[in-house]
């Protein structure tokens, strides 16, 4: 842009220079022509007067004329008799002037000769014509032109310099404002430094105000979404997670292959309805409050602990680590048995627990805990059903690590393929989780079986690169877009992003069809590393996404700043979207927020065709899950 302005200024200055020079030259020429003409006439009149006093004597006429001609600056002097005869004819070649020939040709000085009558007494002798030399006038004109051109050029150069300086002064804030506007277009909120120039200062101020206001609007929107989320997830009476949310969270933790497994404890207030009928509403609420208080202490004390109300009388507690179920269940049982509210009401609680759950469905886990609860009801009010997790055995872990490493080294790997489709049925990409054949000739195992160990064994970069390599090969083979996971552990490792970029660079066509996605990360340091990696991968045409997202609406803008192109909303935020009002409202606000950031919204784990239809209605750009199938 500035280049064009510079050219324009140069052009205008040049035009002004040439125009001024031309006008000056023509004006000077006109003045010179008038002077020359005047001189011609005066010379003719003066000479004619002298000649008229010579009584017509040819010798005298010639002498006087020669005297005037020789002393003056004349080109020609002619005296013609009335009969047309030339009485005197004197000519002199013009001396060579300083002005070049082209100048004489292009700016000619044409002046009529001065004319006067010569007589002897009453008798007419003839007509005198006198013409002056124009060479000196041309020289004067040429000199004046040169001087003017020089002065004007100096002036124009000064003006050009000034303009260039001003332009530079304007350029920086202008570019900053452009960058600001572009950032805004991409959904980032950048405030620019105020420039010194008053006009631009105002512009920048306006832009900054706009940016601040937009950020506030987005902030308010995110807050509202959070509020909706709480409404959708919390039980209105106790403030604990609602049943649906609790189960959703439980499902996620059970499915998290990187987690060591969870413990699930169910607490039931014995015969709550009878209690209610007997003691009334208030006393019942006090009992429930006591249970909630006890469960909350675990939530507060152990990070990652989840407490929820499953129905009127049942509460669930999910501990993020295995092996503590028995101890915790016993502790809860003892504490509640001694609680004043329960003692006063004569209420009893049953506690059932199950430990080391991993890789099972939430329903199965609950059923297991329920079974324990049933045993508790049948027994002394406390029952624990323990099981041994594979992670618990350190010797086994070493074996597993060797197996995984061996499988990766000998390329006993393959990719699963789960389509992510757009509303019109078009393929957005295939989600490709890595499968590893742990035992030679054995089954290809999904990540849930080995990922936690791979992570603990610091094998994640190898795992991720293996998946990337397979995906790029597959894309090159069939030209279908694919997405692979990148673990946070790898992505934040120095050198990993560059290694990935090298792989992408090797197959540029396939790289453009590849998406790399990582699970929702919260730590700002991680986000920075991810943003740098994303910028690097974008340069090779790859897309970057965040999966399992949507738990913390306020963090979505941060995902955006980390450079993701799309957001995969976790299954628990879209399950029952067709039937559950609260889920629907939250999903709707998530889509609005994601779209507001200029990102693509995809839904994960859609199991129900009705849910899928509802998601399309909400404006999701794509979805995956059991309900989403590629047309044959």
């Amino acid at each position: 842009m500035t280049r064009r302005v510079e050219l324009l200024i140069a052009f205008v200055l040049l035009l002004a220079l040439l125009g001024s020079l031309a006008i000056h030259t023509l004006t000077a020429r006109r003045a010179l022509q008038l002077q020359l003409e005047l001189h011609n006439r005066d010379a003719a009149a003066a000479l004619a007067l002298s000649l008229s006093q010579q009584r017509g004597d040819p010798a005298s006429l010639r002498t006087v004329a020669a005297a005037q001609f020789d002393l003056g600056h004349y080109r020609s002097l002619r005296l013609r008799g009335d009969d047309g005869r030339a009485l005197l004819d004197m000519q002199q070649q013009a001396p060579a002037g300083r002005a070049p020939a082209w100048f004489l040709r292009s700016v000619p000085l044409s002046t009529p000769p001065g004319v006067a009558l010569v007589s002897d007494g009453w008798r007419s002798i003839g007509r005198l014509e006198v013409e002056s030399h124009t060479a000196w006038a041309h020289d004067a004109l040429w000199d004046a032109c040169m001087r003017t051109a020089l002065l004007l050029t100096a002036l124009m150069l000064a003006a050009g310099g000034l303009a260039a300086w001003l332009l530079r002064l304007w350029r920086r804030p202008l570019l900053a404002t452009v960058a600001q506007a572009q950032a805004l277009e991409q959904g980032r909120f950048v405030e620019a430094e105020l420039p010194r120039l008053p006009e631009l200062r105002q512009l920048t101020q306006s832009m900054n105000t706009t940016v601040r206001r937009l950020r506030e609007v987005f902030g308010a929107q995110a807050e509202q979404v959070t509020l909706l989320q709480r409404q959708a997830q919390l039980d209105a009476v106790t403030g604990l997670s609602s049943r649906r949310h609790f189960i959703g969270q439980l499902q996620q933790r059970l499915g998290d292959a990187t987690a060591p497994g969870v413990a699930l404890i169910l607490v039931r207030v014995w015969q709550l309805e009878a209690l209610n009928a007997r003691l009334g509403h208030e006393a019942t609420d006090r009992v429930l409050g006591a249970v909630v208080d006890v469960l909350q202490t675990y939530v507060e004390r152990v990070s990652g602990t989840l407490a929820g109300r499953l129905n009127g009388s049942d509460f669930g507690l999910c501990l993020p680590v295995p092996g503590l179920a028995a101890e915790t269940a016993a502790s809860i049982h003892t504490t509640l048995a001694a609680a004043p509210a329960l003692r006063a009401a004569g209420a009893e609680v049953m506690v059932g627990a199950t430990d080391s759950l991993s890789g099972v469905a939430a329903g199965a886990a609950l059923a297991e805990a329920d079974a324990a609860l049933a045993r508790a009801e049948a027994g002394n009010g406390l029952a624990v059903d323990g099981r041994a997790g594979l992670a618990a055995d350190p010797a086994g872990a070493r074996v597993w690590r060797a197996q995984i490493a061996d499988a990766l080294a000998s390329r006993r790997t393959r990719l699963g393929e789960f389509p992510v489709l757009a509303p019109d049925g078009g393929l957005i990409h295939l989600e490709c989780p890595l499968r590893v054949q742990l035992e030679d000739g054995g089954e290809f195992q999904p990540a849930a079986r080995w990922l936690a160990l791979a992570r603990r064994s610091r094998l994640m970069p190898e795992v991720d690169l293996a998946a990337l390599d397979l995906a790029l090969q597959a894309i090159a083979a069939d030209g279908r877009p694919r997405a692979v996971n990148v673990s946070l552990a790898s992505a934040t490792l120095p050198g990993f992003a560059t290694e990935v970029a090298r792989c992408l660079q090797a197959v540029p066509d396939a790289a453009r069809l590849l998406s790399l996605e990582w699970a929702d990360a919260a730590r700002p340091a991680d986000l920075r590393a991810l943003a740098e990696a994303a910028a690097l991968w974008h340069r090779h045409g790859a897309r970057v996404g965040a999966e399992h997202a949507g738990a913390a609406a306020q963090q979505l803008p941060r995902l955006h700043d980390a450079g993701v192109d799309y957001v995969k909303v976790d299954a628990r935020h879209v399950r029952d979207v067709a039937t559950d009002e609260a889920v629907n409202a939250y999903a709707r606000s998530l889509v609005a927020l994601i779209h507001g950031l200029g990102l693509v919204a995809l839904a994960e784990g859609v199991e129900d065709a009705r849910d899928l239809a509802a998601l399309w209605a909400l404006g999701f750009d794509g979805a995956t899950g059991p309900a989403v199938r590629l047309p044959d």
Binding site: A44, L49, D82, D83, G114, A116, S119, W122, S124
Partner: protein
């Protein structure tokens, strides 16, 4: 001509119709009759007074209508008026000359600068002199009181007002050019 006269006053306005009538009637007349009648016309209408008395300046060159409007004028005012009128009546330019002469006035016997209009019927022929000192047109040989010094006409000046830009400073530089411009603007062409 009438428009120009209105600026100069009632006398000029009154003089325009007879002058235009005279010029029109002379278009077909011979040069002799033209000289006689133009000479008489201006000699009758303009009384000789020196410029110092009339215009309060040393030497003022008046255009024909200016002189008529005043009813007074000096030698060059007569000569210019007659020159312009004769040209307008159809006398060829090369036959007419305004001549600076040295005149000896009969009453004082002293020489004095003067201007007359000379008419040359042919090249080298003896001219006829139109003068305000004597009412009749006479050949030069009958005017021993006049010694010619220098003659000129409007040759070499711009022919017609069209080619002479009014704002051209050169036009105003000499008395002759200036009065000739005014004369042409009054309609003598």
């Amino acid at each position: 001509m009438q428009v120009a006269a209105q600026r100069l006053g009632p006398r000029a306005v009154a003089a325009v119709p007879p002058l235009q009538g005279l010029l029109a009637s002379l278009r077909t007349a011979g040069d002799g009759e033209r000289l006689q009648r133009v000479n008489r016309f201006f000699n009758e209408r303009i009384v000789f007074r020196s410029d110092a008395e009339v215009w309060n300046v040393d030497d003022h060159w008046a255009s024909p209508l200016e002189a008529i409007a005043r009813g007074e004028g000096d030698c060059e005012d007569y000569a210019i008026a007659k020159y312009a009128s004769l040209l307008a009546a159809g006398v060829p330019r090369q036959r007419l000359r305004l001549v600076y002469v040295r005149a000896v006035l009969p009453e004082t016997g002293k020489p004095q600068p003067h201007m007359v209009l000379a008419y040359h019927a042919e090249v080298n022929a003896e001219p006829l002199i139109l003068d305000n000192l004597r009412p009749e047109v006479q050949p030069a040989s009958q005017r021993p009181d006049l010694t010619p010094v220098f003659s000129f006409n409007d040759e070499g000046l711009w022919q017609g007002a069209g080619s002479a830009p009014a704002g051209d400073p050169l036009v105003r530089l000499s008395r002759w050019r200036e009065v000739w411009r005014r004369t042409q603007e009054e309609g003598f062409r």
